[in-house]
Symmetry: C2
Subunit: 348 residues, 2 copies
């Protein structure tokens, strides 16, 4: 039997709880075995040891076939945990070091899931789209700085970096995905009327790559217009391609309108397969409900399906999606994290 | 009788139609007279003459007491109108030259307005908040550039610039507004966990200015978390203070959940009153319905109320708000732009 090496980073807060359920379902659905190595990373480790991501750990993780991540992050406003330490030192560090240039975030309103949108909006059509968010450029590069910090003359900058190389590969991936979907509609989201430099390279490359995909219809929306359509006509979206920060913003809204971040899965993917891709729920570590078996593991479980799909086991991935769908349809009462995981496992 | 000098920039598309109604209502409600000068600016003028905002016009506008703007912008993807020309050359140019550092955008779900949110969400409480968007810094400064444009080696950057000076003045304005409201809650919105430099100066200054406003409660949310709350619990917001791009994004979503951009007013305000402030609907020029009397002038009319309030005529502003409210409550059938303007005028 094939065996894949799986790095497991349960992380902080509800991370370990949802990861346990995701692994349960993963192993029930998978036609292959996983040789798991668990890595102790996150806020707790940092606060205990001062270490965020030791080089030796990164080197080891790099040799795995895939990574499953729960959630990282400590208590809000912990003075010992300045903002950015974990995000830039661990989560983004992994995305950048492993060149996860496709941050993949599907959004689907499953039957049984509760959307905050009105019936009038939901009646317009099925919500089922995927956001292809660029993962290694834009405002996330850590480029920028600050001078005269803390004085009335402080100047702080953040630089969004966009390269033809970086934009082209993610745009191509998005076209490939659009090509495989029934609607074959790709919407570029940017703010070309203000960010003329970054917008220029995104716009030009989408036009260029479009020539290779004559069956795909190309649309463009400013990020502010997307806000409106996301709540008034989300059925219009099929594949969205956008930069790192706009993708961050859109995908939380997309998660919210499709039933909440308890259901939103994501993959940090390197489509070239030269490094392990990383799969994680969109939600955070929710320290306020940690250890209480209150978290919904569905997002983590759906991320496990993305993991299987990425490794080439699309049937197994589809089995997980179907089990989640069936579970959502019949959800009643309050169940613990493990009860939801068990219920989905039994439906596989 | 006092007379104020008012610059009127009707602009393109539906701009002239909604501006005509806003002027009608303004003059009906105002206790003072306006000496109006109309400026022909926008896509049409640019396409006709190649001029965006001649220096002589800017100099003249600078001597006015206030500016009313309809909307500027040509047909989408007009090859003769590259993205950014009008936005950066006219709209943003006015905001920057006239130092409109407070971009004020109130959001209120008026009775009778149709929200795309479900009754369950709307039942949580009244939606009534104001976004204080910084208007002269951030990603909007035009800082950045591109090299090797059009080649596979293109690099394009956009620089977000944040100064203590710029942040402090808008944060102080937001605290002043929060102080005058019943809930007295100020929410800073940023992405401090990724944009640590810009986030740092925003965070520090909010903490500092907070000391002068002990009655105001301070909250913080990441921009992605705002996306979730905006559609699941918008009643939680009172005053939001944020940077230029996050403010752009949030206010379109806020407009959408409170009945659409047909109702969303905005002011580009210089609270120091050293330059004329500019009032405009959040919506664009909508060239597809231009000249057909199909546009809703309510956003422009509510912007006229903000204009009166800014000039010190808060009673007159309140009269416009009340008339709009009454009109919305009794709206039936389809009315022309002028019919809506007339109806609101008659309710003053
Ligand atoms: C935690 C944070 C750095 C991260 C991001 O901004 O990408 C998160 O919001 C996400 O969307 O995965
Ligand atoms: C047209 C554009 C430059 C403008 C902005 O981004 O500020 C608009 O979206 C707005 O919100 O007023």
């Amino acid at each position: 039997m094939t065996t894949h090496k799986l790095a497991v980073i349960p992380g902080d807060g509800i991370g370990p709880e949802v990861t346990a359920e995701a692994l349960k379902v993963l192993e029930a659905a998978s036609p292959v075995q996983f040789e798991k190595t668990t890595y102790d990373l996150g806020a707790e480790r940092y606060l205990r040891t001062g270490e965020v991501l030791p080089q030796s750990v990164l080197d080891e993780v790099r040799t795995q076939d895939a990574i499953m991540l729960g959630a990282v992050g400590g208590k809000p406003n912990d003075p010992n945990l300045p903002p950015g330490i974990l995000e830039r030192g661990l989560l983004l560090k992994l995305r950048f070091e492993l060149d996860h240039y496709v941050n993949l975030r599907p959004s689907k309103l499953f039957p049984g899931a509760v959307s905050p949108l009105s019936d009038a909006v939901l009646g317009k059509g099925e919500i089922d789209f995927v956001v292809v968010r660029e993962g290694t450029e834009g405002l996330y590069t850590g480029n920028g700085g600050a001078m005269r910090v803390g004085t009335p003359h402080e100047v702080a900058t953040e630089v969004s970096i966009n390269t033809a190389f970086g934009v082209e590969r993610v745009v191509r991936d998005a076209f490939n995905r659009a090509q495989r979907r029934p609607a074959k509609l790709l919407t570029l989201v940017h703010k070309t009327n203000v960010l003329v430099n970054a917008g220029g390279v995104w716009w030009r490359i989408v036009q260029e790559v479009a020539k290779e995909f004559p069956e795909v219809t190309v649309d463009y929306l400013h990020i502010d217009a997307v806000m409106i359509f996301m709540v008034t006509d989300p059925a219009r979206f099929d594949v969205i391609v956008t930069d790192n920060i706009f993708g961050d913003i859109i995908t939380d809204l997309a998660a919210a309108i499709t039933g909440g971040i308890g259901l939103a899965a994501s993959g940090n993917v390197n489509p070239d397969r030269t490094t392990p891709s990383m799969f994680e729920p969109v939600h955070g570590s929710a320290p306020d409900i940690a250890g209480q078996q209150k978290a919904d593991p569905t997002a983590a479980i759906l991320s496990a399906a993305l993991l299987l799909d990425h490794l080439g086991y699309s049937d197994a991935a589809a089995r997980i999606d179907a089990a989640v769908l069936k579970d959502l349809e019949t959800r009643t009462g309050t169940r613990s994290t493990a009860e939801i995981g068990d219920a989905i496992t039994s439906l596989i």
